[in-house]
Amino acid sequence: MSTELTTMTGAELGAAIAAGQTSAVEVTQAHLDRIAEVDGRVHAYLHVDTEGALAAARAVDSGDGPRGPLAGVPLALKDVIVTRGVPTTVGSRILEGWLPPYDATVTAKLKAAGIVILGKTNMDEFAMGSSTENSAYGPTRNPWDLDRVPGGSSGGSSAAVAAYTAPLSIGTDTGGSIRQPAAVTGLVGHKPTYGGVSRYGLVAFSSSLDQAGPFARTVLDTALLHEVMGGHDPRDSTSIDAPVPPVVAAARQGATGDLTGLRVGVVKEIAGGPGYEPGVEAATRDALARLEKLGATVHEVSCPSFTYALPAYYLIAPSECSSNLARFDAVRYGLRTGDDGVASLEEVMSLTRQAGFGAEVKRRIILGTYALSSGYYDAYYGSAQKVRTLIGRDFAAAFAHADVLVSPSTPTVAFRIGERADDPLAMYAADLCTLPASLAGIPAISVPSGLSEGLPVGLQVMAPALADDRCYRVAAALEADHGHPLTQEAPSL
């Protein structure tokens, strides 16, 4: 029974718990056992909250607790989302030992839905990276090949679900940090429309780009979790005051496999070519052929400004991060270094930030500080914002002729641990396909499109703002055509 529980989907588990065929405690315990068994090798979790998880499960089983399709279903939460009384490190030494005094809105919604939070997952420090190697607590490994990265920055969340230590997880996506890890671990991962999920309690990297979203092994599970997380939050001014798009209905509709009349645009600028692995290009071609087989029409569109997405992103995100990360100053919480009673305030601040931040975080703070400096602002931050506007216009023009736009989720399959660690530009290239949707604030999903030399490849499906349901519908159709979750083809750990 125990192994069976960890291979079931979230929807199946929720139904089984509701029907009394199993209990939330049994389900939770099965996943805690699985964590104990395999996470030593994967290192998806930074903190496992055994007692909190079992208490939440017992509350569901008591019958007085929350009800709903995912009540009692376990989940792994990226360590960038604050949890009251449970450590939240953001993968950084600077917040080691910090116990947040409050819950993020997402955390509160999970709890209200009866979802059991198993623990907090590893990530690139402050969500900066595409491999989870930038975690101050050591890298996470890809369950498909332990020598490879699980993507990043939400690599702990992708690895946890791919390793069957949780049926669901939550990541955050600033430039691709949900879609790229989902692609390289064979999962479904969705970045909602900017403003679709509250950012209150999401430790900020880049405020105008950060967005939390769901991971799961199936499209339906991803949609069910999206429905729980999403919706307006008065605590987040940038949260959209509109109902959650009908993602669950779209996932069910897509699962019928009928895409008749759907217009699919293939974005020329991020469709393939130099830097894209042949296996990724082949899987993408195969996915397009399958979309046509399901009734969609496929044509090419051009979005010329996408060429500038990467440089624009690497000015905007570091600029915002240089300001967002200023508060880690040793005064109120987190690490304090060098406070020997003699050192000045400035010295303590400086020593703490030197010791508490890793190399990539420092690189981006320095880059952003420079880009916002008096005399450079217009040339860097100002120009990047103009590019952002142009990218939005390219999307608007493309969506005039297409219901969804597609591309590979990332140009390569999972790379080897250490392979790009010393080459930031090669690392940044992993986000090439995902950055435009981030900059435009539109929804995008990554859905498995096949294997390349035994490793998963993902297809990115983008839709206009607030039309998240279109992403789910297309993803569900492709998934139905494939037959079962791609993770079933992964080597067992």
């Binding site: 939240t88 209150y200 430790v203 940038t238 109120r332 305030l345 916002l372 931050y381």
Partner: protein, 499 residues
Amino acid sequence: MTTIESAADVAHRYDPVIGLETHVELGTASKMFCGCPTTFGAEPNTQVCPVCLGLPGSLPVANATAIESTIKIGLALHCDIASWCRFARKNYFYPDMPKDFQISQYDEPLCTDGHLDVVVDGRTFRVEIERVHLEEDTGKSLHVGGATGRIHGADHSLVDYNRAGIPLVEIVTRPVLGTGALAPEVGKAYVTELREVLRGLGVSDVRMEQGSLRCDVNLSLSPAGSGVLGTRSETKNVNSLRSVERAIRFEMGRQAELLDAGGRVVQETRHFHEDTGVTTPGRSKEEATDYRYFPEPDLVPLAPDAAWVERLRAGLPELPAARRARLAASLEASEFELGSMANAGVLELVAETVAAGAPAAEARNWWLGYLAQQANAAGVEPAELAITPAQVARVVALVADGTLSTGLARQAVDGVLETGSSVDEVVAARGLVRVSDVDALGAAVDAAIAAQPDVAEKVRGGKVAAAGALVGAVMKATRGQADAKVVRELVLSRLGAPG
């Protein structure tokens, strides 16, 4: 004690140019970006939450009342209200700033291009307002140990975040030219008038001593008639009306002395010292921080709806200048007298007393005279006294119809102040009725003469001035209720002296 040249002498050789930056803490119930209360004087760090402490993950949500108050201020100062503007982050590290950036406004303020007219010595000066913008206040640091009370040299520092996030409006003037020797007075008059405007709007309690109104004074000198602007100093936290005047006066003298000696003024921040009236250098602008302003991505742009702005404009209370003009007519007072009443905080009270039927001169005399003294003695504002303008008007009426003498009227007022009862109740309870009946007073006069035979003898002998002692004795015996004039006539006639 530093001696400095007078403003009048400096103004012979230099044209002073002043500029004022005023920070006003709004009187909203909750903070600018969270729901914490704003009560002054609470236990340190008890009015805080994840947002105003800048905890990781927290986000700001703008206070709509604060935005409304800022627009009202802009409208009262004749500003243009932006149809679209944004908050910006001002980045610098300081422990009393929880996020190590301040949410403020930079190149897109909510209100721009206004003015405020002030009158000094009968001359009207138009002070142009460059901008009015909204931001959040910082916490308060207390530096313990060390000689200066500043962070450098302190043993340790304590930070109270209760004030962090309280909405703060910054009102910045354009350089004010042409004030000459009156620069110190114009500066003071501007802040005074601004305070009246803000008080009238009800947007702040504008208490300089509690820091809810704070002022920075910029001053530069240019050679007389040259029109070439000089280098300015920026004097921080000038926290009383009198200090505004003193700080400008001091800076005029200091800069003139420097320029006369062939030196140059350094652009710097200076600190004003209340005790000595002197400014001393603070941080030099040359080492100033680059604040790396950029639009606040956690907040949506502010786009005040035009109809809303017009509703606010229509709902503005009468502005102090207009009110003064109207009162000048009804109170038959000069601009100077109005100024005295406004400064003493009795203008409204006088106006209401007149409205209740008292002649303007009487009403003014009571509020500026006896009542102002009582308020002063009690350490309260005249408006806080337990007597209403209507009651003062009643006292005035009782004096006018002869019921009360001036002395009795004061006793009646004292009674109202002590008990909170009405004038008529006090008069009745204390028997405060002037006695002018000759028969009723005759016995008292006879008793006084009998008690002081030597004095009576002097009066009989022609020393009329000595009668005062006998009158006094009668007044005392009748507890001040006798009509002193009638008593005097009675004394003189009984003693056969010429009246």
